[in-house]
Amino acid sequence: MDKAIDYRMKVLIVDDFATMRKIVRNILKQIGFEDITEAEDGSAALQVLKNETIGLVVTDWNMPNMTGLDLLRNIRQDPKIGQTPVLMVTAEGLKENVLEAVKAGVNNYVVKPFTAEILQEKIEAIFRKQAGV
């Protein structure tokens, strides 16, 4: 376990596919997170973000209603939640997506399918940076 990460924080998983949410939830639990909540798409996620204190958002790119990228842009525009770390999940081979998200201020990204180790590395990288600031 990494000291930079506060494992008690609430993590929000955003994906329209319930099975995928479950997979990510399982992996997050493996890493050590316990307080995990879910949303079906970008707009639902924004609602959660407005009502609860979220420590980290793990969002899919590809969703109906509001894509992960639009969710990210919405978060960054909102002064209240603009600093929330966002980790984007994308499928392999979609480099343009990654670069677009990176320019929009995503904290890190992870390519499907990923292992617990990879996700942990990415999350650690995010919070090491946050702690360093």
Binding site: D16, F17, A18, T19, M20, K22, I23, N26, E40, A44, D60, N62, M63, P64, N65, A91, E92, G93, K95, V98, L99, A101, V102, K103, A104, G105, V106, N107, N108, Y109, V111, K112, P113, F114, T115, A116, I118, A125, I126, K129
Partner: protein
């Protein structure tokens, strides 16, 4: 000589600051750096063309983000040198610069494999071996969800075929395939992942306009959907049997997907055509200009010639050009989805069950004599309030089992499409009342009858386009599926504007089968209903579409088993309409509570026609026919419930007791009961497997006083009596 541009200075300063802090795994930092670098590039491009240099720099940052750079330390150093070079260029206004920094930069660029054009995208490292989740629950979830997605894809595909320009529809199909691929990767379902990937790639080309939406394309994707469904079904089986998934043959379909090539590319609408259609330019004029355009040496675009020669106003050409570009853009926004929670259906069923019990206990409390004796006004009020809340709760819990019928209807879209291809008939399917809600348990039950009726409508009802044209009907036949609530029932209509029922053929067939006596001339309505007789089929030739004689009788049986009714209205040459009337739910029945001796039975109200107490003179015993009762000059067989179910302690003579005249499938019976106790809605409870085979009883219920009442099954009762 560079112009003053404070923005360039500001950006350079920020970049210089950021580049010192950059780290290879700080994606956010790299992202901010990349954005500013691109901004700077835009600003600088107005002053001096440093595009290749900037491309190198952005390429390196992108490489760092995508983890495609072999040596991150060198890459970061190069970025530092690059920013330094830009700062110097700003001061000295000289490019390419001289000196140590430039040499250093060039060396690093060479080592990183840059050559004034951005790094060659290094092949991505092989993906990590996917994780295997030994979690059957997760897999089961996936199966359900994947199935839902595939169903959704099917209906969207049929929609897409009719609206080939709706790019949002392509997106809506692309998205679930993409998701399927992603999740299948996690679950180690290689073949599902592979096939989804192929289709996703194909759809991506459709989105890019490289491939046009055509019937062949839709067919191909539908085939892939079918194959995926087979895989899911196999997986389900494999899960149950504890074996691994079977291996499917994918090479053939993959080859065909690969063969869908650019020849079917979406053609761009021609400017000339748009001008003729929208702007009132004559086709001859366009033609003439086009011919001269060919003859010209360096032919300018059509629009330019038209404007120069003053033939068409520039605004018109501009409008047409905008339209040309706009075609193929998404047509409509997707509808917002209401938020839902998925709940295990067993929980809902349990809740509904318990609510039923609560309602019963609640009325027991209210009817309790001792509580009534208290004559306490407040208690009365509170009990009344509790009664209202419980019945409201019951309504809500019932509604949780309700689902819109739309999903079932939309499954018919695929069916109609396939049928119309097979039969060569053009069909216009129209859905109405898709939001009408129906009990979840009935959705599956009505599916087969609905499929059968829709098949019949297309196969027998609708004519071929040629036949329709010769009768002054539009080539495409219409087929309506409607659903609505009426009087506490749900009505489903299947209507076509085809040839209508062929009564002569039906009657001839019925006579041949001995269903109608030769001398008998039944009314048109009765003829129509003959098609529901067992073993009846009017199809002159048996096609693989309309099946082999197992048909309408099964449909009718299924509907009757759901305590529903089926009706036909048909006019020769104008079409037929099948009307299904079904109860809202299978869990509750509206019944008359009757007393027979010491027992109480519940009769479904829907079957009861009248109640009466006959005169002695109206009761007859006929040899071989049993007991008959005369009701308004009609003789109705008498059925003694106490004899059927045992217990001879009731009233025995009809003139002392009550008769309930019930009707089922056009036949009538008079049931002998002691008394009617009331009419109420009762929650049906299964009698359990032990009494599953009890003829004449549909189930049991707990009555208001806590005692059990048996619910009569009219269909079974009539059969019981004939044996």
């Amino acid at each position: 000589m560079s112009q003053e541009n404070p923005q360039i200075e500001a950006l350079l300063e920020q970049l210089a600051l950021k580049v010192m802090m950059l780290e290879e795994d700080d994606v956010q930092g790299l992202g901010a750096f990349l954005s500013q670098l691109e901004e700077l590039k835009d600003q600088v491009s107005q002053v001096q063309d440093l595009a290749p240099f900037f491309e190198d720099l952005t390429g390196v940052v992108q490489g760092l983000v995508l983890q495609e750079v072999a040596n991150a330390v060198q890459a970061l150093e190069l970025l530092g040198q690059g920013v330094a070079l830009l700062q110097r260029w700003r001061r000295e206004e000289e490019w390419p610069p001289n000196g140590e920094v430039w040499k250093n930069y060039c060396r690093l660029a060479q080592e990183l494999g840059l050559n004034q054009g951005g790094p060659e995208p290094a092949p991505t490292a092989a993906a990590d071996p996917p994780m295997v989740f030994d979690d059957p629950e997760l897999l089961a979830n996936f199966l359900v969800e994947a199935q839902e997605h595939l169903d959704g894809i099917e209906t969207r595909l049929v929609y897409l075929e009719q609206h080939p320009d709706d790019l949002e529809a392509v997106n809506a199909i692309f998205r679930p395939f993409h998701t399927l691929k992603g999740v299948a990767g996690f679950l180690n379902l290689g073949q599902i992942q592979e096939l989804s990937h192929e289709v996703e790639w194909l759809l991506d080309r459709v989105r890019d306009g490289q491939v046009m939406v055509s019937m062949e394309l839709v067919n191909l994707v539908l085939e892939a959907v079918d194959l995926l469904k087979d895989m899911l079904a196999d997986l389900q089986e494999a899960l149950g049997e504890g074996r691994g998934p079977a291996v499917f043959e994918l090479a053939a379909i993959k080859a065909r997907i690969a063969q869908v090539d650019a020849t079917s590319a979406r053609p761009k609408a021609r400017l000339g055509d748009i001008l003729v259609e929208q702007e009132g330019v004559s086709p001859e004029e366009i033609q003439e200009v086009l011919e001269r355009q060919k003859a010209m040496e360096c032919s300018p675009p059509l629009g330019e010639i038209l404007i120069q020669e003053g033939r068409v106003a520039p605004q018109k050409v501009a409008r047409a050009l905008v339209q040309q570009l706009a075609e193929g853009k998404p047509a409509a926004e997707a509808q917002p989805v209401t938020e839902t929670v998925k709940v295990d259906i067993a929980k809902v069923d349990n809740l509904v069950d318990l609510m039923g019990e609560l309602v019963i206990v609640q009325s027991q409390v209210r009817q309790n004599q001792k509580i009534g004796d208290l004559a306490d006004q407040k208690l009365e009020r509170d009990l009344g309030q509790m009664g209202r809340i419980t019945s409201e709760l019951q309504k809500i819990s019932m509604s949780m089992r309700m689902v819109p019928i739309g999903a079932t209807f939309r499954k018919m879209m695929r069916l109609v499409r396939d049928l119309s291809l097979k039969t060569g008939k053009e069909v216009n399917l129209q859905l109405e009342g898709e939001d009408t809600e129906i009990d979840r348990s009935m959705v599956e039950a009505i599916y087969d009858p609905l499929v059968h009726l829709v098949r019949n409508a297309v196969d027998h009802g609708l004519e071929t386009p040629e036949a329709r044209q010769s009768q002054d009907k539009p080539r495409a036949g219409n087929l309506w599926l409607r659903a609505y609530h009426k009087g506490g029932d749900i009505i489903i209509e299947i209507e076509d504007d085809g040839r209508g029922l062929d009564r002569e053929a039906i009657l001839a067939k019925a006579r041949e089968r001995g269903l109608v006596a030769p001398e008998d001339t039944p009314s048109p309505e009765r003829i129509d209903h003959l098609i529901f007789e067992p073993g009846f089929s009017t199809a002159k030739e048996v096609t693989n579409v309309s099946g082999r004689g197992v048909g309408m009788d099964v449909v009718k049986e299924t509907i009757t088993r759901m305590r529903g009714k089926i009706d036909i209205a048909s006019r020769s040459g104008e079409g037929s309409r099948f009307l299904l009337r079904l109860p809202l739910t299978l869990a509750i029945i509206d019944g008359m509570v009757v007393q027979v001796g010491a027992e109480r039975y519940i009769l479904p109200t829907v079957g009861v026609q009248e109640t009466l107490r006959p005169d002695r003179g109206d009761c007859f015993t006929v040899q071989g026919e049993g007991e008959l009762i005369r009701v308004r000059n009609q003789l109705i067989p008498l059925l003694r419930l106490h004899r059927l179910f045992g217990g001879d302690d009731g009233l025995t003579h009809p003139s002392e007791a009550l008769l309930m005249v019930v009707e089922h499938e056009g036949k009538k019976r008079a049931l002998l009961v002691d008394d009617i106790l009331g009419k109420q809605e009762v929650v049906i409870k299964s009698l359990g497997p032990m009494f599953q085979s009890l003829e004449g009883l549909a189930g049991g219920t707990i009555l208001g006083d806590g005692r059990v009442g048996l619910i009569l099954d009219l269909a079974g009762l009539f059969q019981l009596e004939t044996v």
